[in-house]
């Protein structure tokens, strides 16, 4: 008896010691299962799959990095999509995109076929990846120095990091030819521009603004959407008085909340304040950024968010808006699309959907047209053949952009003239605002290097939780910027 117990315990201990002391599971399983005694060995087997191996798991997931991808409108397609090669030409273009939805996927497929037909020397290998899987795979490809030829990009700090490491191509010379560069609206392409280098081109771009529920506004006796921050706070008070949750917010994910702070900073300090801070001539602890925090605190103090918003994710946020449980949200152009999927009654949802831009702040230096936004684009790996650039040029032709806008794929489109294809009134308005914006700013958590972007997200969450003063929040962001933005 005792011997048996000893053996089992020993087997258990040896199994556990190997892996529990941080790491490697593989060898342990074998030992555990080789122990005699029937019942307890089961426990031993379980032991190996036990809590120990956490960090390694973390490492595996690792590369699926920034969870906070605003563009990640949930499109859960579980079935893996095999890659397909189109054409048989000798010049191969490797293309990774993340448009898993059937209509979008087929659209790319169709365009690739059309291109290859006219260019028989080219073949295009398409790999369709789910958003998070794409980011994981791309990071690995980048670290091994072999990026795909054409791939999804959101521009901003992540793309710049790849550019600085010489892993992506500079498109500036190609864009100068035959007016390709001028065919884009200036705002969207600025997201891919870093000094005199341009590391990618957009194929859709939108902006963040307030989506609201007209029926709930009416119920609270609000005649008009607010134009200024003061009016906005009044609207919140009225909604509260009418017993309606004024704002839906999935602040567990942090990026939905960071829009508020960034927009306020944009309205208060304007382009100059941000660009100074970014160029290290100014600081993220400057008065305009502190003021953004103070204004946001005014809102948070009214308790306008749903109960438990700090623990709610973007999925909860979507469900609230989709089903009329909250009156408004500050969100990008993808919001209605995501919410229609979660709405119990799509007709009512569509009928009540309204949009207004972020209110202006009294006395702020920012222009009322300044827009915070972002969208999708393509970047080119360092070894991409010239045909790859020509191919993307074809994708972003005004004809193709118009057709894609019409089909609801490139919404809002980014090529001048393609907006003719749009028929959704709200998206049309967003598109025209993006086109007219004097200053088009990408979300900070994408534009800034990842370390600073995440610091913005983390610090603004503290404002929403009411645990930290606006001065300290600005200081925390500045500390991260001071380390990362020095080159």
């Amino acid at each position: 008896m005792n011997v048996r117990r000893r053996l089992v315990t020993l087997a258990l201990i040896s199994a556990v010691l190997v892996l529990a002391a941080c790491g490697g599971q593989a060898p342990a399983t074998q030992q555990a299962t080789s122990a005699p005694a029937a019942e307890p060995t089961k426990a031993a087997e379980q032991a190996t799959s036990a809590p120990a191996a956490e960090p390694t798991k973390a490492a595996e997931q690792a590369t699926s990095a920034p969870a906070a991808e605003p563009t990640a409108a949930p499109a859960p397609t579980a079935t893996p999509i095999p890659l397909s090669t189109i054409g048989t030409g000798a010049t191969k273009i490797v293309w990774w995109h993340i448009n898993t939805q059937a209509d979008q996927r087929e659209n790319w497929q169709k365009l690739a076929s059309a291109y290859v037909k006219d260019h028989p020397d080219v073949s295009i290998e398409i790999t369709v990846l789910e958003n998070e899987a794409f980011k994981a795979k791309l990071a690995t490809a980048m670290q091994s120095g072999s990026p795909p030829d054409v791939f999804q990009s959101w521009g901003g700090g992540v793309l710049k990091q790849y550019g600085d490491a010489g892993l992506v191509q500079d498109l500036a010379p190609a864009l100068q030819q035959n007016g390709w560069g001028d065919s884009f609206q200036p705002g969207p392409i600025s997201l891919y521009t870093f000094g005199d280098k341009i590391y990618g081109v957009p194929w859709n771009a939108g902006m963040v603004g307030f989506w609201y529920n007209k029926a709930l506004f009416e119920k609270a006796g609000i005649a008009q959407p607010p134009a200024t921050w003061t009016e906005f706070l009044d609207v919140v008070k009225k909604l509260k008085a009418a017993n309606i949750t004024p704002i839906a917010l999935g602040e567990k994910d942090k990026w939905p909340g960071h829009f508020y702070w960034v927009y306020l900073a944009t309205r208060i300090g304007g382009r100059a304040a941000f660009e100074k801070a970014y160029a290290r001539e100014g600081s993220f602890a400057d008065p305009s950024f502190v003021e953004a925090g103070t204004k946001l605190k005014e809102l948070v103090d009214l308790q306008p968010f749903q109960n438990g918003f700090l623990g709610a994710g973007y999925g909860d946020h979507i469900a609230l808006m989709a089903n009329g449980k909250a009156a408004m949200e500050l969100m990008g152009h993808w919001a209605p699309g995501a919410e229609r999927g979660a709405a119990k009654d799509v007709k009512t949802f569509n009928a009540n959907l309204g949009w207004f831009p972020f209110p202006s702040v009294e006395g702020g230096a920012g222009d009322a047209t300044d827009a915070l936004g972002g969208g999708d684009g393509f970047a080119f790996g360092k070894n991409a053949p010239p045909a790859a650039i020509d191919f993307v040029r074809y994708l972003t032709s005004v004809e193709n952009q118009t057709a894609m806008a019409k089909a609801g794929i490139a919404v809002p489109p980014v090529v001048k003239g393609a907006e003719a294809g749009l028929d959704d009134a709200l998206l049309k308005e967003i598109q025209s605002r993006v086109a007219k914006a004097k200053y088009y700013q990408l979300y900070y958590d994408q534009y800034l290097p990842p370390a600073v972007g995440q610091a913005v997200n983390d610090a603004t969450q503290e404002l929403f939780a009411g645990t930290t003063a606006p001065e300290q929040v600005a200081k925390t962001i500045e500390e991260a910027a001071a380390i990362e933005l020095v080159q």
């Binding site: 008896m1 005792n2 048996r4 117990r5 089992v8 315990t9 020993l10 201990i13 556990v16 010691l17 190997v18 529990a20 002391a21 941080c22 790491g23 490697g24 593989a26 060898p27 019942e39 307890p40 426990a43 379980q46 032991a47 036990a50 809590p51 120990a52 191996a53 956490e54 960090p55 798991k57 973390a58 997931q61 690792a62 590369t63 990095a65 920034p66 969870a67 980048m142 670290q143 990091q161 490491a165 892993l167 567990k252 994910d253 942090k254 749903q306 109960n307 438990g308 700090l310 623990g311 709610a312 290097p449 990842p450 370390a451 995440q454 983390d458 969450q461 503290e462 939780a465 645990t467």
Partner: protein
């Protein structure tokens, strides 16, 4: 003469003749395991140590040597120390609540005449679930609108203030600890049941014949005989608490406002989300040293008897 010649003789006799075939067998058996262990455990650890001396975003060559800067940054970072504190809190809670609970249930189940297997299975069930599934289930249970906890409390106490346990920095860690306990007590319980099965009933019977009360039998016979299992579960519990990740990441991502961050979630946030692989490596090394230090100390002082 006799006494002094004997050791010499023995040495001559026992001089090892290298038996190459025998050695090859040993090496042959050791090599595959050793290679896996070196390749998947020791080498990555060494690599992490190396990376931790650089400021590095994971792309391109390692050029920016910063010495121990990553370590001093970690040890002076408020959030990291907070995270470490949460790990320690989880250890204390686990040892104070989870282990006694598991032991108590194991004893109760042993006392049952019928239905042992059923109860054992029921209690063990949560452990079989993956941590991801557990996290998702409990996120539903804790939902502030229509979740089980909220519904339960508001029906017991009408007008009960709505609970959002995961959204409140003050309650989030305890709410998570409830889930952790729910998930892992069954595992410790199974270990205890296995240990209890190996205690000869004769010993306890003899003690009872000698006039020992049930409580005394528990205190002086059962628990001491179970001590090696107890030492083992404490060991597992502490290491598990030091490395907690999945469940917390699913349920709260360490928030709100770092209130449920552990060293592992902190490592993930900084190493991977912020692309600071050098700094992340330093955190990993610190975690490793803490676990390793604990392992060595615990094995040397508490578990030595179990290996004899």
């Amino acid at each position: 003469m006799q006494t002094s010649s004997q050791p010499i003789e023995r040495m001559i006799v026992r001089r090892p003749r290298i038996r190459w075939g025998h050695l090859a067998t040993i090496v042959g058996f050791l090599l595959p395991g050793a290679l896996i262990y070196i390749g998947l455990v020791l080498l990555p650890v060494a690599q992490a140590v190396y990376y931790s001396f650089f400021r590095w975003n994971g792309l391109g060559p390692l050029t920016n040597f910063t010495g121990l800067a990553n370590y001093t940054r970690a040890l002076s970072d408020r959030v990291f120390l907070l995270s470490l504190g949460h790990n320690l809190q989880l250890i204390v809670l686990s040892l104070a609540i989870q282990i006694p609970l598991a032991l108590g249930l194991a004893l109760l189940i042993r006392g049952l005449t019928r239905g042992r297997a059923i109860f054992r299975t029921i209690f063990f069930m949560p452990f079989v679930l993956s941590e991801i599934v557990t996290g998702v289930i409990w996120s539903f249970i804790y939902r502030p609108d229509g979740g089980l906890v909220e519904t339960l409390f508001s029906s017991i106490a009408p007008g009960f203030a709505k609970t959002a346990l995961l959204a409140d920095p003050k309650t989030v860690l305890y709410a998570l600890f409830v889930v952790i306990t729910w998930k892992f007590f069954g595992y410790h319980m199974i270990l205890y049941i296995a240990g209890l099965q190996n205690i000869p009933t004769e010993v306890e019977e003899a003690a009872q014949i000698d006039g020992c009360s049930r409580l005394q039998a528990l205190r002086y016979i059962t628990i001491p005989l179970l001590s090696s299992t107890i030492r083992l579960t404490i060991y597992l519990s502490v290491l598990g608490s030091l490395q907690f990740f999945d469940l917390i990441w699913i349920m709260t991502t360490g928030g709100p406002v770092n209130a449920s961050d552990t060293m592992a979630t902190y490592l993930y946030k900084f190493g991977f989300q912020r692309f600071q692989l050098g700094y992340g490596s330093a955190i990993a090394v610190i975690m490793f040293l803490i676990c390793f230090g604990f392992s060595i100390a615990y094995q040397t002082f508490a578990m030595r008897r179990d290996f004899e």
